[in-house]
């Protein structure tokens, strides 16, 4: 138990440190990488809360997919961040309001609901052959089947939107059409012409 607590504080410390790094780093690539570190540490903390599936999926989806996209954008767009930063300081009132709301929300959960009388209590012990993923799957595809379908629709909309926004066909390219190549027959390519042999003069 002692060891787990120690691990929790170690990973949380790295998480908070990395999160500060994300907003303080000057180089956007460093920011993106520190965000990866953040996700990784949160995944470990979720694992320690017995959320096995969610913890690993966090690594799979956010670190393995979303952050790769971020890195692509940050590395290849070649943006000049100093220019973007110029007017940034003027936005601090909005930032303060948002930050205040978030702090309030967290305090509400941690202090009022947890410390203020209503104890969450220790989680009940898990049965021996408990499988986090199976339990989640059961819930997701029976009770929450409808929200799951909505998620699928959202993903469909996302991929359509991505194509509508970014797909531009370059004019004048001649891509290889495998179907056409396979379907071609000798008749279309070679024309045998019957002709009488020429006479020697």
């Amino acid at each position: 138990m002692m060891f787990e607590t120690l691990l929790f504080f170690a990973f949380s410390a790295v998480l908070v440190g990395a999160a500060f790094g994300v907003i303080l780093a000057r180089n956007p690539v460093y920011s993106a990488l520190l965000l990866v570190l953040c996700f990784f540490n949160s995944a470990v903390i979720w694992l320690m809360l017995d959320a096995e599936f969610l913890g690993i999926v966090l690594v799979l989806v956010y670190v393995g997919a979303v952050m790769v996209l971020f890195l692509f954008v940050v590395m290849m767009l070649d943006v000049n961040l100093e220019e973007l930063r110029k007017g940034l300081a003027g936005y601090w009132p909005i930032a303060a309001v948002v930050a205040g709301l978030m702090v309030f929300a967290i305090l509400d959960v941690v202090v009022v609901k947890h410390l203020g009388g209503v104890s969450l209590g220790a989680a009940p012990p898990l049965p021996a052959d408990y499988s986090n993923t199976r339990v989640l799957g059961e819930a997701l595809f029976t009770r929450y089947a409808y929200p799951a379908q909505i998620a699928a629709v959202i993903l469909l909309v996302a991929s359509i939107a991505a194509i509508v926004l970014t797909l531009r066909h370059r004019p004048g390219v001649k891509p290889q059409n495998v179907g056409e190549q396979v379907r071609v027959s000798a008749k279309d390519r070679v024309r045998l012409v019957k002709m009488a042999p020429e006479k020697r003069p």
Binding site: V29, G64, A65, V68, M76, Y130, S131, N132
Partner: protein, 359 residues
């Protein structure tokens, strides 16, 4: 018979009993890691020898070990790489340039922690083993992108971008193939996945999931950037791709990661589709006979076959063009897996096949 017990007792008296287990695990882990790296070293030799023979050459035959010509080649290579200068290009991003090799190597080695080498012989017998493998495998792309970007060289950058888009495309096909294995086994735990294939070669997954096996193996070859999908390195186009600016031991780390990943893909192919440590005589001979015993022997023996396949593919096929790679990944492999997942669902529903616990 040599056992751990005396060492364990001594260790627990040296350091408190609380720490004996983690330290013992660490020692064992180190042994497995060094074992994997040794296999990888001889795999490079096997590659050069086998491709040599396929091309009517001799392959490396100068460095002798135990009077076998060429057997010492991997060690000679290591010593050479050790004493080479590690260059860091002047325009490179110095920190990321040095970090990138580690980001490739750590995930490649970390996946071995959930691989069961024999019944009940995995370091981490976690419930979500397969998910962990997929998640760790998806981290490998970072090393490639960062190496290519940090070097600040055009070839490296092109190689990194090509490689990233390719890895990303084939990971989808790989993930769907894994879903098929999951449907058959009904568990994410690697040990259970192997046990569910119990009952002889015809009840191993390859028989009923043959298209998924083919897709998985092809996607595995593409994920490791091996020929014929090696456009990320493409010696004749972009010289060596993302690691062109690396030298010495920094390059060796990429090299180790690539070959460890190849062995890993082979091991996973065997685990998912060929029954892992199950004996091929299991179900045909009586369970008490020696040949029907499951164990590391069978696992190792089976893993050698897909490992050989990697080399065979490299010697046989010319490199794919990039648009062909993308077409194969998106338009052939993913539709095939989706169709077969549907077929598998119907099969399970109609009680066809060896699957336990039908709906």
């Amino acid at each position: 018979m040599w056992t751990w017990e005396p060492i364990r007792v001594r260790l627990s008296s040296l350091i408190t009993a609380y720490w004996a287990d983690p330290v013992l695990t660490a020692v064992q882990i180190l042994m497995v890691m060094i074992g994997v790296i040794l296999v990888m070293a001889f795999y490079t030799l096997a590659e050069r020898k086998i491709i040599g023979w396929m091309q009517s050459r001799r392959g490396p035959n100068r460095v002798n070990l135990f009077w076998v010509p060429g057997l010492g080649q991997p060690f000679a290579d290591v010593v050479k790489l050790l004493f080479k200068e590690i260059l860091v290009p002047g325009d490179a991003n110095k920190v990321l340039f040095r970090v990138a090799p580690f980001l490739t190597m750590i995930p490649a080695l970390a996946i071995w922690s959930v691989i069961p080498f024999a019944p009940q012989k995995a370091f981490a017998n976690i419930d979500a083993g397969l998910l962990f493998i997929l998640a760790m495998a998806s981290l490998g792309v970072y090393g490639v992108i960062l190496a290519g970007w940090a070097a600040n060289s055009k070839y490296a950058f092109l190689g990194a971008m090509r490689s990233a888009a390719q890895i990303v495309a084939y990971e989808i096909a790989m993930g769907f193939a894994m879903v098929g294995v999951l449907m058959a086994a009904g568990s994410l735990n690697i040990g259970r996945i192997i046990e569910s294939q119990h009952g002889g070669p015809l009840s191993w997954n390859w028989f009923w999931l043959f298209p998924l096996f083919v897709v998985y193996y092809i996607a595995g070859v593409a994920e490791t950037n091996r020929a014929p999908f090696d456009v990320a390195e493409g010696e004749s186009e972009i010289v060596a791709g993302f690691h062109v600016d690396y030298s010495g031991m920094a390059f060796a780390l990429f090299f180790i990661a690539e070959y460890v990943n190849m062995i890993l893909i082979s091991a996973l192919t065997v685990i998912f589709f060929f029954g892992g440590w199950l004996s091929p005589f299991d179900g045909y001979l009586p369970a008490s006979s020696l040949l029907a015993q499951p164990g590391f022997f069978w696992f190792g023996l089976k893993t050698l076959v897909p490992m050989f396949g990697f080399l065979w593919l490299r010697a046989t096929f010319p490199r794919y063009r990039y648009d062909q790679i993308m077409r194969l990944g998106w338009k052939a492999l993913i539709p095939v897996t989706l169709v077969w997942l549907f077929v598998e669902g119907v099969l399970i529903y109609c009680h066809v096949g060896p699957w336990k616990g039908h709906i």
